[in-house]
Amino acid sequence: MAHDKTYTDQDFKLVGTRPLRPDGVDKVTGRARYGADMNAPGQLVGLILRSPHAHAQIKKIDTSKAEKLAGVKAVITSADLPDLTNGDAGMYDTLENCMARERALYDGHAVAAVAAVDAETARAALKLVKVQYKKLKHVTDVDEAMQPGAPIVQPRIKDKETGLSTNVCGMTPFGHGDIEKGFAEADVIVERSYKTEQTHQGYIEPHACLATMGPDGQGELWVTTQGHFTFRNVCSALLGIDLAKLKVTSSEIGGGFGGKTHVWVEPVALALSRKANRPVKMVMTRDEVFRATGPTCSTSMDVKIGATKDGKITAAEATMRYQDGAFPGIWGMLGGLTSFACYDLPNVKSVGIDVLVNRPKVAAYRAPSAPMAAFGVESTLDILAAELKMKPVELRLLNAAQEGTQSSYGPTYGPIGIKPTLEAVKKHPHMRAKLGKNQGRGMACGFWFNIGGQTCSDINIGTDGTVNLTVGTVDVGGARASLSLICAEELGIPYESVKCAIGDTGSLGHNDTTEGSRGTFSSGMATIFAARNAIEELKQRASIMWDIPAEEIDWAEGKALATGVKNSNLGELTLAEIARKSPNTGGPIAGHNEINADGAGVSFASHICDVEVDPETGSTRVIRYTVIQDAGKAIHPDYVEGQFQGGAAQGIGWALNEEYIYGKDGTLQNPGFLDYRVPVCSDLPFIDTEILEIPNPTHPYGVRGVGETSIVPPLAAIGNAVSNAVGVRMNHVPMSPPRILKALKEDQADQKAVSAG
């Protein structure tokens, strides 16, 4: 799409202001309804029986005793979810993940489900379902899973002749130039290996839904999701329901971060409801959320970067191994795509490897795969900067990509924000703040793509001049405020005159899931076009009211203006005046738009971080943190800042504490918020933000996605800060107290050895 200068160059009246969010009162009064807050008459409680084993053959499931228990209305196993996937491998994976078939593939894998009149009865029924398992050898570590002879997670996946285990389900190289030649030209080469542990999105709201299937083949699903249209597609396909006959309504969503882009219990709830012929409500426990949903990958990687002595990078190479859990994903590939995207490199090669292990199916987590890749690359860059005796920010600036650079993953960049964020780092007062004992400063950069995709918006104008805006992208972080601003801006009416709602699957055409930072980008685009569509209709109606041709009418600031000398006595008609007459000029006035929102703009960030490390305990505290990111255009700056701060906080948790710990038996040892420790309020400082606006030329308002990039730099920024604080280079995330303490002790031992030698 061509750059619509009319709109990027205009003086915005509302866009860029900070009005109160329209869903605020609902959310501070307890009135907002989330996944678990909906009930239906006669509803049953659905619960899932999960595998206690990391890997086991399911020899037999006896449900007869459970079925006989009074109050139990349905018991299902995989036999009740026949394979309707017609050779669609991805859909079959989803089916198998919802309910284990021949084998349980990870600790927590669903094996059966019950629906009963109340929770007590349902829990009793679960105990009566008897499953006969034959335990199989398991593997949970990414490097071990790649070795020939490792236990095979998915025997149906064919050997790709890599010489490695068939657990390696993808190997995708990216890059350009001649790596060998590039390294030969380097004066300094740094080569390091890194590991990152598995983390969970950690949304506070567990997965929850209320499913109703009637004997007429019609169904309804109320669910906490990032994409109710996608959920409809998947549930319909798995259960053989006509798309139009399954109405999916997205509840308020209590956090998703990628983890609510996939179905988990929803097809099971629909299957239970179909069998019991009653509504079934399912709400996961936190233990289930940790064991069976979400997480992102653990990784292991090798990074090698070479540069001339004046700091120009001549070659960069990364081999990154991502574990996808028990089902193939694209996570290693995404690591390969994003690893070197910040830089202008003549010779670059990045290989993303996807590996199966006996852990839950990996789901997207905010800029999925990019934070781990950035940890490897940005840590290596800091080591290189030290060897070159350059400031880390200068090394990055010297090599930063810009408009016209061929990206490491292929396309050539348009206008981008990496250099401006680095310039802003140099100027930021944070860089001059004094550091105390055991304190250190680090910085790192990050990149994320952002996506567009299928989108629809509807605008319906009431006879009083107020406007219903209906969008199909779930609001995960304040998008209704931003989209109301956009709608009001285009129509020229007050923000307060717009009421934005998320339509259910029966009220709009298909909308892709809110992922890839696309919510405000793509629904904003569709809303702009829907508003312009409504304006055309408003002009038509004004032409009827004035009895002049529509071509003689302009639209500005919420009013129809009659143009030309002969119309000079007509003056103007406001939107409200035209709307009031609409019953007599042709009926309701509406605007709509259905698009594939092309032109998502890539987004870059640079973060600065100060930490203090306690050398006695290895405990690390973040004492200052600054996020600088290009937003393209910040529609509602409060919620742009909120995205920056939230992503940084998740990254800090990942860097310092959060990790899935698996036992020797392959079971998850810490499936709760007590032992899986996300940052609490007293762990964090205020998080300073600076929004840069380098317009995305392919969005009418210049918008880029803002939601994800902020989680990319923190792992490396903190690693670099720790290194500068206490002189140890951490190559394993999280940098938890035991790991830092171990590194400090090894460092002391090394120093002793050196001084003794």
Partner: protein, 166 residues
């Protein structure tokens, strides 16, 4: 159903319910009293989304038995609005954009109110530690802390005015 008969007060209203002895106060509030403002994020007292006060004492309602509510006074997020007016904390949370998804907001409001009721002029550090039992995964806590500090300021001003009038 064999159960426990409970008479209690919720947000000033007399309430009665019959519940199994093992039921949590959180489940009773949500499923029997019909107040779904308190949320279950973990069920183990780690996330604070279910925070309510019992006789003014801040608790995780997932760790309290429904039967223990007998004769007590419970306040939930639904009880913060007084005479149709939002509590100053509710107002400040909206003004400071201190919520994104909002699932943790009811718990934070109850915890923050408990803090300001006992310490009207908390330091940043005191706010951070008082709210450390409430998890928020969206905001990084920045705007929440600012909202609570600002609410404290407004409440102190209002108290001063009230005292001056007396």
């Amino acid at each position: 159903m064999a159960g426990v008969h409970v008479s209690t007060t919720v947000n000033g209203d007399a309430v009665e319910y019959v519940c199994p002895g093992s039921e949590t106060l959180l489940d009773a509030l949500r499923d029997r009293v019909g107040l779904t403002g308190a949320k279950e994020g973990c069920g183990t007292g780690d996330c604070g989304a279910c925070s309510v006060t019992v006789d003014g004492q801040l608790v995780c309602s997932c760790l309290v038995l429904a039967a223990e509510a007998e004769g007590r006074e419970i306040t939930t997020v639904e009880g913060l609005v007084q005479d149709g007016e939002l509590h100053v904390l509710q107002r400040k949370f909206i003004e400071h954009a201190a919520l994104q998804c909002g699932i943790c907001t009811p718990g934070f409001l109850i915890s923050a109110k408990a803090l300001l009721d006992r310490n009207p002029n908390p330091s940043v550090e005191e706010v951070r530690y008082a709210l450390a039992g409430n998890l928020c995964r969206c905001t990084g806590y920045d705007k929440i802390v600012r909202a609570v500090l600002d609410a404290g300021k407004d409440m102190r001003k209002a108290n001063k005015k009230r005292k001056a009038k007396k």
